[in-house]
């Protein structure tokens, strides 16, 4: 099976956060996920996924798969949910997890999905 990648925006600060933070919420989320990555998934920090108004933000992708962008994530509340969703994504061959199988936060906070380079019929 081709490798799956979880991109985490490290520039994100949550829109609902007040005041300055020493370490951006996105960096906190990245460090949490990198310390305990979902099985078979590579966690990669990215300096801005441009989903700033609905941060924190992640992307799930892999060659030959649909790419998904998720937002409105919380560095403290959501790492386990992200791991669950990433593992379900990694368990498919095309990135398509059925609606009811997806974590609720993923269902409600999908920003976009993009087909693989070779679009299936």
């Amino acid at each position: 099976m081709k490798p799956v990648e979880l991109l985490v925006c490290t520039k994100c600060n949550r829109a609902d956060a007040l005041g300055d933070v020493a370490l951006s919420h996105g960096t906190q989320l990245y460090e949490e996920l990198a310390a305990e990555p979902p099985e078979g998934v590579k966690v990669t920090p990215i300096d801005c996924l441009s989903n700033c108004t609905r941060s924190c933000s992640i992307v799930l992708r892999g060659e030959g798969r649909w790419t998904y962008v998720y937002g409105n994530l919380h560095e403290g509340d959501h790492p386990d949910i992200i791991r669950e969703g990433a593992q379900k994504y990694a368990a498919t061959t095309d990135g398509l997890v059925t609606w009811r199988e997806r974590p609720e936060h993923f269902r409600k906070n999908c920003m976009a999905r993009i087909p693989p380079m070779e679009i299936p019929e």
Copy 2:
């Protein structure tokens, strides 16, 4: 130079639209762009980019390039702006058009950007 693709969501109906439409706004936008494609860009219809609350939606992408998702597009008002942005995107090698060069609608309605599979240093 590698080929550039403009994906157009054909399922979109604008969030501000009232009532049923015979042909979805996204399909109208696709047909407009396909009839007069930006130079050197392949226009491809996609059945749902999952950016439904900020539709109509498009994606610009190409191998080795950053992928961009744009939303809040109007099938009547925005085809020329999309063509302009797509041609500027196609004129780069990595998909990165400088902020001031991008059409204003693109600057204000970027939903996400995703790095190429091989992330540059």
